[in-house]
């Protein structure tokens, strides 16, 4: 099982590495968002510093939509889904493999994005333990929900434009939890941060479980 998960994840990451879509398209888009927020919000009044974690996580959610779309677009070519179905891999292994791949890609993006935010928004990164836990758990949760919806978009041709509407409301708790926890980690708000991280962990667990179960009907249905 774990071997299969890693097999799928490695396949996706290798494809990703070769095509450079993440590095060449999604990451520049995310950096662009960081820039656009600066234009939209007054740079001289400290709004950006105040809102750093919120803006950061909004960008991550947008990037999640793109990465999920990409992760399943590579399966959309004729017969790849059938090949996966016939490969003998358990649907849940395919699902978890996708989640791992999406998580790794997003984590890489987030590291760069944090650095960009630290420089451009003049934010001092601290609270490393909480920040790292938040980043990992929020990303895992977004990937877990995202991968389930990604295959929905794959089954329904023409549903690509629908993915943001389906995915983003579902990720509202992730945005709330991740923003609040990051605010605490960065010292922008008092109050305990770890309950938020725990909520993100529960979110991830619930959607990982649901995704593993529901991927089978999504994949195997003719």
């Amino acid at each position: 099982m774990i071997r299969d998960v890693l097999l799928v994840a490695r396949k996706d990451l290798r494809l990703e590495w070769r095509s450079r879509v993440g590095v060449g398209q999604v990451l520049p888009f995310a950096l662009l968002c960081v820039l656009l927020f600066a234009f939209a919000l007054d740079v001289d009044r400290g709004v950006l510093q105040e809102a750093t974690s919120g803006l950061f996580w909004v960008v991550v959610l947008f990037a999640t939509v793109l990465v999920v779309q990409r992760a399943f677009a590579i399966e959309a070519d004729d017969g790849v889904l059938d090949a996966l179905r016939l490969s003998g891999l358990a649907p849940s292994a395919v699902y978890l493999g996708k989640v791992v791949a999406i998580t790794v890609e997003l984590l890489a993006l987030e590291v760069v994005l944090w650095l960009a935010v630290a420089v451009l928004y003049d934010t001092t990164l601290r609270g490393w333990g909480l920040l790292a836990a938040t980043v990992v758990l929020a990303t895992l949760g977004a990937a877990a929900a995202g991968a389930t919806y990604g295959v929905v978009g794959l089954r329904l041709r023409g549903a690509e434009t629908l993915l943001p509407l389906l995915l983003l409301p579902l990720l509202a708790p992730v945005l709330i939890g991740a923003t609040s926890a990051s605010d605490v980690a960065l010292g922008r708000s008092a109050g305990p941060g770890w309950p938020w991280a725990a909520m993100l962990g529960i979110f991830s667990g619930v959607y990982l479980l649901l995704g593993s179960v529901l991927f089978r009907p999504l994949m195997e249905d003719p």
């Binding site: 329904l156 549903a159 629908l162 509202a172 309950p195 003719p222």
Partner: protein
């Protein structure tokens, strides 16, 4: 929903008896059951208006605005019932693979979305009186709006042309994910607003309510659950008829193609 195959005793006058000797099939989505349900709902609405607008006194704290909550609270409760029905229909569809559960889930979701829209509408009017503005980031109202958008997505998925089976499977999955999201969003938004808690009695029947106020609150709940049942039955039958009509037009199209083919070959 299957059709009762047993002949019905001709209670209607003989003129109405169709050639098959049975009572004629209804030419709409109405049946005796829905007519009774509809009449009950209507009577309930009248009673609710009398109690909610005239008989009940203004609330000690909320004043006259409690009259909006007589609309707001039952619509949100009925909407949650609707989404639970959708989730149950979705699970049973994935299990039994029967059209009935798929169409029930879809019909229930549509009615639920309507009720959610009304909840938000009434909540905003209540807010305008109480806070002076239409919108505050009140937790219940915020949660409702996020979930409203979630279920708009569900309905949008159902409108994408695809095979009946794929549509049913995909929307069943979304129906399940969306219902799991309800408590999570609830909790997250509650915590998010935890520091700025505003006084509100949104979303539940206030435990301190008494007498005619309490009665009116439960009357409202009953009326909207009856309305929900009536709407869902009609919406389900409409969905059922639409599926049958589409099958028929497809059959006709295939038959027409075949006929063309025969003509081409015949000479």
């Amino acid at each position: 929903m299957t059709i009762d195959p047993t002949p019905v005793a001709p209670v209607a006058p003989p003129v109405d008896v169709s050639p098959s000797g049975r009572r004629p099939a209804p030419t709409s989505t109405s049946s005796r059951a829905t007519r009774i349900l509809g009449a009950l709902s209507l009577a309930g609405i009248v009673a609710l208006a009398v109690f909610g607008l005239a008989i009940t006194p203004p609330d000690a704290q909320l004043g006259e605005t409690i009259r909006i909550l007589y609309m707001h609270v039952p619509t949100v409760s009925a909407a949650y019932v609707a989404f639970i029905v959708t989730a149950v229909g979705s699970v049973l569809y994935l299990w039994k693979r029967s059209e009935f559960w798929d169409l029930l889930a879809a019909s229930s979701a549509e009615v639920g979305v309507l009720f959610f829209a009304l909840t938000i509408f009434n909540g905003m009017l209540w807010g305008k009186i109480t806070w002076g503005v239409f919108w505050r980031w009140e937790p219940r109202l915020t949660t409702t709006t996020v979930l409203f958008l979630t279920y708009l997505g569900y309905l949008a998925v159902r409108r994408i042309p695809t095979s009946v089976r794929t549509r049913a499977t995909v929307s069943a999955v979304i129906g399940i994910l969306a219902v799991v999201n309800i408590p999570i969003t609830h909790k997250a938004v509650d915590w998010w607003r935890g520091l700025h808690q505003e006084k509100t009695i949104f979303g539940t029947v206030d435990p301190e309510m008494q007498g005619t106020q309490l009665f009116t609150a439960y009357l409202g709940l009953t009326v909207f659950l009856l309305l929900f049942a009536w709407l869902v039955i009609h919406r389900f039958r409409l969905a059922w008829l639409t599926e049958r009509a589409e099958e028929r037009s497809l059959d006709d199209a295939i038959a027409a193609r075949r006929a063309e083919g025969v003509e081409e070959v015949a000479p």
